[in-house]
Symmetry: C2
Subunit: 593 residues, 2 copies
């Protein structure tokens, strides 16, 4: 290329008028206005109007009409103020235009399969196949630039707080994070496999034992799961760990990070400390452990009211060990039609909910299919408990606790959106704390709520021998607008306690030794008290950018079938490669499901 | 833990005397001096002398003797100036000691398998098995902290220069970097495999086509090679690419980086621009494309002198298309024994060198087994060409060019060390430029010197049709003390040129489409001129830290058998996992070799 740019396409201003400059960039469009041709030339930094005037440069003008969208050109010319009334206040460079004196065609472009600046409605497959074009559009490009900037800020925050960034292995051993591992056959050790890490958990604990004191890493992690819309086979985690700390030290360190980010990115002052809610409270009041606190709509337990009720559905649910819980949709009576209310029942089907009861507190008295079964005392007690007033709508689910919680949590989010209670511009952070150490698996045996390296609260240790499901932890999840964006815990630093937890989890000594032998070993040699956390960087980017697709924050994402449409990965490989690895294909006919 | 530190173990100074403070850390050693016990307590930041005095705290003193090396403790006590004459000027905290008032045992330690602060002579396997202990030693810990710091500086340099850091996929498709790929079977797409990237080459070019203009990434890369001492299955690359630039822009950007690093890390002023040497010159003068320029010892071609020589070895080598080349070991006659000179011949065996001839320019005339075969004219012409004076030693290799180059390059390094010409503290940077585009493979066909995306120099494009091996590129390698620490090139941005290069490389249209179809596609849609480079971060850390083992700069390295001794990766996996992946083992009995 002969014409090397002196400026980018976003920086020329009225003060530059009269200068001879060179721009390099892509042609956005071509307009011919009575013999004078206009081109919008763009690059990463912006867009500048370029003028081909036959009186200024007849040669350049003569070929200008051959330029097409996405051609790459270099132009040399003079910056001029736009004529009176022609300035464009919506463009940074809108006060000027460049009169071309000479130009150089750097590359042609075939007609793109879609308009790179307006690809929203193009089908996803075409966009993914031509990802390099979709990324040329302002939206995705700005998302990636934003991600780079935020990631840099996160790194510098931790480096500035004496954290050491350590790269931990990608070719490693299976870790028990609950999902399937991606495996990598070893050629040098035939019959053996590496696993790609689901998290650097054991490495970061090793680093604490090694005395690094403060570790972080922006770490690539992998899960071979069946993908949901917001999952990718590989994802990025802000991973950190600290020694000689307790729960509040970790939470404080993270609060400092988000305070800085909110200020620098959005010029908002995050009020610290962030609200904290216990796991038990969150489950009771919001039906889930990652509640959206941008709105209230608290769940209230009314089981006491209906224990002896004549309304069999409620009474029987309670008698079967379940609960009757309700949300007061304050002032919603006018806003919800009978259809809206009836549609709630199918909405909770995925959670095995059987039905949603409702009471509309109309001007002329309660309207409901169920109030007729209540005694006056029950109605009175209910309205008092729920703070029900004229204009409100009460909704009810009566069932086993898990069904009630999941159904009402989903209805709470659904109704908040429907009733316009959600401020889409708000970023609402909170902590959920005091998680149980164990929950019951399908057979009723203990399984870790977080992971097997989470320490019980010291004051609950005695319960390990008597009532394991009552043991709480100093674990903490960071929640943003109803999404868990991070989670962590105080870890076990005592080898005997770690062995005990493995044993409670039904992990035999042999299995523990095989899988975590080195951790049990390491804990013998002076492990300091330590705690840590991991943030889901992709999720945070989605929430900060206000997008609901993870593909909008990852440069080269995979589809739900875990394929990359651009490179066509994964692909078949040569027989010889498999031979070298000591493996062969053993494909089974697919079942109908 | 009850006693949370107020200070770290490296920060107490004489000004802190009188303060009540808390330290947390590891016990380094225990000394009993007539009833008063001393402990060196250490953490990442340093070491503080802690005193258990029975008069100050009888209870603490009574248990102090139970403390062992690597126990983790918290102590609360008073900072006092050390007594007159007892200060230790070699320690940052050497002016003070802390008189313990109370202490807390945070964790015990079994007797470690080696002294964590002095593990140099411990066998490598023991150190790798207990990597968390080896990393607790100052040397490795400081290496990792240094690496974190330098990596942060590199990142901020590129971010500050408007580069966008983009994470590219780890689960991707095979790229043709010349080494074996690690493969990952896809469960969702049975029979298909991801490859772990050998570099993000195609992704960064895609990002240039997408208009990102300036990209960088600290990228994990993978090569399934048989490992040498300085290779690891996974390694880290500072990967970058720029658009609308030429070779000098990339070189200038990198020179700015290293100037900053040299200043900030070593307080040295790097003189810019760095020396540049063409590939042809490097091969002629130093016998290799990554010469160590900390010393001279240039290779000189003497073939003209001996073309008709009576010394058959030289004459015949030349007649067979080879060369006679020599290095003048200036003033080395006194320093090299006959044994030293005779040992050169076995030294070049690995390069298929058959022998090294030598002439010692003694006070009483040349001493050599070969001068007797030279005519006077030959001797005169030789000494003149070589600038040979009394006290010098000339060494010769006569053979085919490749053998001559490799042999003399190795001898040059070897002799420079032997003669003490290497300043171990110098960091000597240079560029090697103007690489050939192709070299001959074993069958004499063209194969890429860098990779198939390297552009020919525009002025050499016409040679593609006539003499491909004469085509040079605008590729550039950055060399530090004889090690290639980075390399890159101006890329092909024209689809037709790319197709032509594939074709010259014997890659069929079908294969090109299968492997790089998306790149050929992408090049159709307005690819800008672009160029880039990748730095080997591990190698740079080694050179900066002056270590000759890559394991010293990687937290959790693998052995030459590609295993992790700490986690015992890779490992066997369950049959069910392989079933899910649609593969099975097909192990073959190992051959004797």
């Amino acid at each position: 290329m002969k014409l090397k740019r002196t400026h980018n396409c976003g920086e020329l201003r009225i003060e530059d008028s009269g200068k001879d400059i060179v721009l390099n960039g892509w042609v956005e469009n071509y307009r011919d206005h009575g013999g004078v041709a206009f081109i919008d030339l763009f690059d990463r930094w912006g867009l500048t109007q370029v003028v081909f005037d036959p009186q200024v440069a007849p040669e350049a003008h003569a070929v200008a009409h051959t330029l097409r969208s996405q051609f790459v050109i270099a132009i040399e010319g003079e910056v001029r103020a736009r004529p009176e009334g022609m300035a464009n206040p919506n463009m940074d460079t809108g006060d000027v235009e460049v009169y071309v004196k000479s130009f150089e065609l750097l590359n042609k472009s075939a007609t793109p399969p879609f308009d790179v600046q307006h690809s929203e409605d193009v089908n996803a497959e075409t966009r993914l196949v031509h990802r390099y074009l979709d990324l040329r559009g302002k939206k995705l490009q700005n998302n990636m630039i934003f991600r780079s900037r935020v990631t840099g800020m996160i790194r510098n925050y931790f480096l500035g707080n004496d954290f050491v960034e350590v790269e931990t292995p990608i070719l490693t051993k299976s870790t028990p994070e609950g999902a399937r591992d991606y495996l990598v056959p070893s050629r040098v050790n035939p019959g053996n496999f590496y696993a790609l890490p689901q998290s650097p958990q054991l490495f970061k604990q090793s680093l604490m034992i090694a005395g690094f004191d403060r570790y972080f890493q922006i770490a690539r992690c992998f899960r071979d799961e069946d993908l949901r819309a917001d999952r990718q086979p590989e994802f990025t985690q802000v991973d950190l760990e600290m020694s000689f700390v307790n729960r509040d030290d970790i939470m404080g360190m993270l609060e400092g990070l988000f305070k800085d980010l909110m200020k620098d990115l959005f010029d908002k002052d995050l009020k610290l400390p962030l609200p904290r809610i216990t796991y038990d409270d969150a489950m009771m009041k919001y039906g889930c452990d990652a509640p959206d606190l941008r709105f209230d709509l608290e769940i209230v337990d009314c089981s006491d009211v209906f224990r002896e009720s004549g309304f069999g559905v409620f009474k029987n649910a309670i008698a079967a060990g379940g609960f009757v819980r309700s949300i007061n949709l304050k002032g919603a009576a006018d806003k919800l039609s009978r259809k809206d209310l009836d549609e709630m029942t199918p909405f909770i089907k995925p959670f095995r909910g059987k039905g949603v009861a409702w009471i509309k507190m109309n001007e002329d008295g309660p309207q409901s299919p169920i109030v007729k079964f209540f005694t006056d005392e029950e109605s009175k007690a209910l309205y008092e408990k729920m703070g029900a007033e004229k204009g409100d709508v009460l909704i009810f689910v009566a069932d086993q606790e898990k069904v009630v919680c999941q159904s009402l949590a989903a209805l709470r989010d659904h109704m908040a959106k429907k009733l316009g209670l959600v401020d889409e511009n708000e970023l609402n952070f909170s902590w959920v704390i005091d998680f149980p150490l164990f929950e019951k698996d399908d057979e009723g045996n203990p399984t870790s709520v977080h992971h097997p390296f989470t320490a019980p609260r010291p004051e609950d240790e005695h319960l390990l021998d008597t009532d394991v499901f009552k043991v709480k932890t100093n674990a903490y999840d960071l929640v943003l607008n109803g999404n868990e964006i991070g989670g962590g815990s105080v870890r076990i630093h005592d080898g005997e306690m770690q062995a005990k937890i493995f044993s409670l989890l039904g992990i035999s000594d042999d299995e523990a030794k095989e899988k975590f032998g080195f951790l049990l070993d390491a804990l013998k040699f002076g492990a300091p008290p330590h705690a840590g956390l991991a943030l889901g960087l992709d999720r945070i980017m989605m929430l900060f950018l206000g997008t609901d697709s993870i593909r909008d924050v990852i440069a080269f994402p995979k589809t739900q079938k875990a394929t990359c449409m651009m490179t066509d990965a994964p692909g078949v490989v040569a027989e010889a490669q498999l031979d070298e690895l000591g493996i062969e294909l053993a494909l089974i006919e697919e079942d109908d499901d």
